[in-house]
């Protein structure tokens, strides 16, 4: 009984750890993605403006 409870607690802790890690990594990836592609799209817009006014 006690062993089952301990195992469940450990799994809950590792699950929470995995979820925090996932949120952290996913947020940084999403921010990096938005910044990188926004810069690229802006560069293309500026080039088009230079070429066609």
């Amino acid at each position: 009984m006690k062993e089952t409870t301990t195992s469940a607690n450990t799994d809950a802790r590792t699950s929470k750890d995995a979820q925090i890690a996932a949120v952290l990594a996913s947020t940084v990836v999403a921010l990096g993605f938005v910044v990188y592609w926004a810069i690229q799209i802006q560069a293309v817009r500026e080039m088009l403006a230079l070429a066609y006014g």
């Binding site: 699950s15 750890d17 995995a18 979820q19 890690a21 990594a25 996913s26 947020t27 999403a30 993605f33």
Partner: protein, 194 residues
């Protein structure tokens, strides 16, 4: 006591450390120094048999590139299906665990094939890609993608999926799609650069 609390969050702490070190590397002189230090390796790559074949035998390069693109298609398909299922967009009548497990094997094999054929192709045009910013962005996206899958996504999905926060699963799926979209887009971009 504090060690025990920290010990419960080893994965989160490791992810935070890797992000921190990555940012320090990106915004310091170490990035430029590493880039200069890698030039001899790229020069050597062009002199290897792979490099010579890639430069002198266009048909071989084209065949390897075709395999590379087919592997990309398989990888893209497995990513779309597994992340689409996490977002509840596709295969909603199939258990989530079953879809994730079925997609992982083709993902791993296609990733290996992509890396092997990618190394061959890189040898043929090593000096050209060395000076392309987009090549380094692709390598960054690929490294982040591999690390994300094996150190964040898979460990998360090993837990009882029914007890995981659905918002976290959606966030992971969106981030995964963003990474692999960037890998594919920057990869094609290399072909139109230089």
């Amino acid at each position: 006591m504090s060690t025990g609390v920290l010990g419960s969050y080893t994965r989160s702490i490791a992810v935070a450390l890797v992000i921190g070190l990555g940012l320090v590397f990106a915004f310091s002189d170490a990035r430029i120094d590493t880039w200069f230090a890698l030039l001899p390796i790229f020069e050597w790559m062009e002199t290897t048999p792979f490099g010579v074949i890639g430069q002198t035998w266009g048909a071989a390069f084209a065949v390897v590139e075709a395999i590379h693109l087919l592997a990309m298609a398989v990888l893209g398909g497995s990513v779309l299906v597994s992340d689409g299922r996490l977002l509840s967009l596709v295969f909603t009548d199939v258990p989530l665990r079953q879809v994730q497990d079925a997609c992982h094997r083709p993902f791993v094999w296609s990733l290996l094939l992509i890396i092997l054929t990618g190394v061959f192709m890189a040898c043929g045009v090593a000096i050209k890609i060395y000076y392309l910013d987009v090549f380094w962005y692709k390598m960054l996206a690929l490294s982040v993608g591999v690390a994300f899958v094996f150190f964040v996504r898979r460990p998360l999905l090993r837990h009882d999926i029914e007890h995981l926060n659905p918002q976290v699963l959606r966030l992971v799926a969106v981030a995964s799609l963003m990474i692999w979209f960037s890998v594919a887009a920057t990869g094609r971009w290399i072909g139109y650069s230089g």
